[in-house]
């Protein structure tokens, strides 16, 4: 995680004391979307020069691709949202719990979820439960839970003890210290965890195809099985582009949501 120092612009004379806020809209900020657009344009150009056979035509058309991209995005976004809703409160509770045992047990469980290969989690769940979208979703949540949980916990714990003490010393109740001081100060770290989770999910969602839950994994696997490389390449490039774009949007959101002054 990179921590960019960001402060409000306060005039050049004080630049030595506090670096002026970097410009928000720079070329660098738009590198990712520009690259993605160029790559997609080249892909389109390349595909349009190909003679597609009937199998390829069934896959490489706008309707099919939009459907798969939609499924993929839906899996990713819904899973990440669920992770946020579940892992952030758990992380806060874990950071506040006095029992080291509880903390270690929950961290161990989350670790297992992450350490098991994603394919394993998806397929095990499908065997134990059912195939389809919901199972893929659950598997994704299990898989992406740890980074958000851990970052929330660390984010809260790393709040300067002096800041916490002065908050208490001024008469804030423990809840006020949590909501007004600790959580806002943990936001950058929590967001970094969510960003990691989102990118994880984009990648792992390709596996959903194995349990019949759709997504761009369908294109990749079909392309491989049927030896139709244009299909494979389009699927793979699309997944990569989605991952890049989502990471870019998350980075953008991080900068916007991060409290000023830190």
């Amino acid at each position: 995680m990179t921590v960019t120092t960001e402060t409000q612009a306060i005039g050049a004379t004080r630049a030595a004391e506090a670096p002026a806020r970097p410009r928000f809209f720079t070329w660098r900020r738009f590198t990712t979307p520009i690259v993605v657009v160029v790559v997609l344009a080249l892909l389109l150009l390349w595909v349009s020069t190909l003679q597609l056979d009937s199998i390829e035509q069934r896959t490489l058309n706008w309707g099919y691709i939009t459907l798969r991209v939609g499924e993929h995005l839906s899996l990713t976004v819904v899973a990440s949202a669920l992770v946020a809703v579940l892992a952030i409160p758990t992380g806060i509770l874990l950071a506040k719990t006095r029992s080291a045992t509880v903390r270690n047990v929950i961290l161990a469980i989350a670790n297992i979820g992450q350490a098991t290969p994603a394919v394993g989690v998806v397929i095990l769940l499908a065997i134990l439960w059912q195939t389809g979208y919901t199972t893929a979703l659950v598997a994704l949540v299990v898989y992406a839970f740890l980074p958000v949980l851990r970052n929330t916990m660390i984010g809260i714990q790393q709040v300067d003890a002096n800041v916490r003490e002065s908050a208490r010393g001024m008469g804030m109740t423990p809840n006020q210290v949590l909501t007004r001081i600790e959580v806002p100060l943990a936001v950058p770290v929590i967001l970094a965890g969510l960003r990691t989770a989102l990118v994880f999910c984009v990648g792992v969602a390709t596996i959903a195809t194995f349990i019949n839950a759709g997504g761009l994994g369908d294109m990749i696997v079909n392309g491989l099985k049927l030896q139709r490389y244009p299909v494979l390449v389009v699927g793979a490039v699309l997944v990569a582009c989605i991952a890049l774009l989502i990471d870019w949007i998350a980075g953008f959101a991080e900068d916007l949501l991060k409290p000023k002054g830190i």
């Binding site: 506090a18 010393g169 008469g171 109740t173 000023k260």
Partner: protein, 348 residues
């Protein structure tokens, strides 16, 4: 919250200038430790008094101070502020009426200076216009321009400026009592001296009851109305005015704490007017010393010029007399009569 608690808080909150603080046989024993961190600590601090706790690191001075606002809960004993038993009040409510400044300042990095200062008034439910007015007033008090600083973030301020904000924040709800834990400890010597001078001026106008913890004896002499020299387990070795402690340290421990140059330190506390002045010399062009100055400054001039005497001038620049080394020494000698019983009253 019980009714008695509510009235207790109100009683403390009503005061804006200092109230009495009484600690009676306060003990703190940390669980799992045999020796108490604070042993049987008793002290009465008069309203509007600035009491310095001086002692080496780990002697329990900070622990003692933090029991007053219950950041640390005492194991036994009683503490009262303005006649109200602190231990029977809701700790969060209590802390809103006690100013608290710590060495690391602990400003909230994600809040502007104005928001930082507004913390306690907001907790107390003040109206927005009242808070805004108070914030501006306080920034002026600590000599920071509200227009420039109100909307900045702590990171954009220098250490000295942050410390001033820390003091302003502690003063926000005009509490009768302030607890300060080495508030100027982390600043450079020049800034520290400036902050100390400002702080003294401020205290003159606000008259809070202040407990001020430091390990710097010179700071204690400079600021304190009375100094409590503490040793292990927060034992009071001597509790007296700076002049009395310098003139007559109660024991070797206190003497070692004063260190070298006790006489010079004392001279800094004695205003020129207390000396018996000789006739004015009237050497033209020679440096003079003002009546409002102190004897150390006068001695400084004597040493620097090598003259036998320096003229003392009043606020209009008229020479009203002169000071020589002999006359300065006489003042110290005159202050030496046998110590009063009161000077060891606090010691146990």
């Amino acid at each position: 919250m019980s009714e008695s608690t509510a009235t207790g808080i109100t009683a403390i909150a009503q005061h804006t200038s200092g109230v009495e603080i009484v600690l009676d046989q306060v003990v703190k024993v940390y669980p799992g430790q045999q020796a108490p961190a604070v042993e049987d600590f008793s002290m009465t601090v008069a309203p509007g008094e600035l009491v310095m706790f001086v002692g080496p690191s780990g002697c329990g001075k900070t622990t003692t101070m933090k029991m007053i606002n219950r950041i640390i809960e005492p194991s036994s004993g009683s503490i009262s502020i303005g006649g109200r038993d602190v231990l029977s009040l809701d700790p969060n409510e209590l802390r809103r009426h006690i100013g608290y400044v710590i060495q690391q300042i602990g400003l909230f990095p994600h809040m502007t200076i104005a928001e930082n200062i507004a913390t306690v008034p907001k907790l107390l439910g003040w109206s927005k216009p009242r808070i805004a007015e108070r914030v501006d007033e306080l920034l002026e008090t600590v000599q920071l321009d509200p227009g420039t600083f109100a909307n900045r973030y702590p990171k954009q301020l220098s250490g000295g400026q942050q410390q001033r904000v820390g003091v302003a924040r502690a003063l926000a709800a005009d509490p009768p009592v302030m607890l300060m834990d080495e508030p100027f400890g982390a600043t450079d010597p020049i800034t520290r001296e400036k902050l100390q001078a400002e702080f003294l001026r401020l205290q003159e106008s606000i008259g809070k009851t202040i407990i001020f913890v430091t390990h710097d004896f010179d700071e204690a002499i400079r600021l304190g109305d009375r100094i409590a020299v503490l040793s292990d387990r927060s034992r009071i070795e001597q509790f007296d005015t700076p002049a009395n402690i310098l003139a007559e340290p109660a024991n070797d421990y206190v003497a070692s704490f004063i260190g070298h140059g006790a006489a010079l330190k004392r001279l800094a506390l004695v205003p020129v007017v207390e000396a018996t002045l000789g006739a004015a010399v009237g050497t033209s062009g020679a440096p003079t010393i003002e009546l409002a100055g102190n004897l150390r400054d006068a001695l400084d001039v004597l040493v620097l010029t090598g003259l036998p005497a320096v003229d003392v001038v009043d606020e209009h620049g008229r020479a009203v007399g002169s000071l020589s080394v002999d006359r300065i020494s006489a003042v110290l000698g005159a202050e030496l009569p046998g110590r009063t019983a009161g000077s060891r009253a606090g010691a146990r």
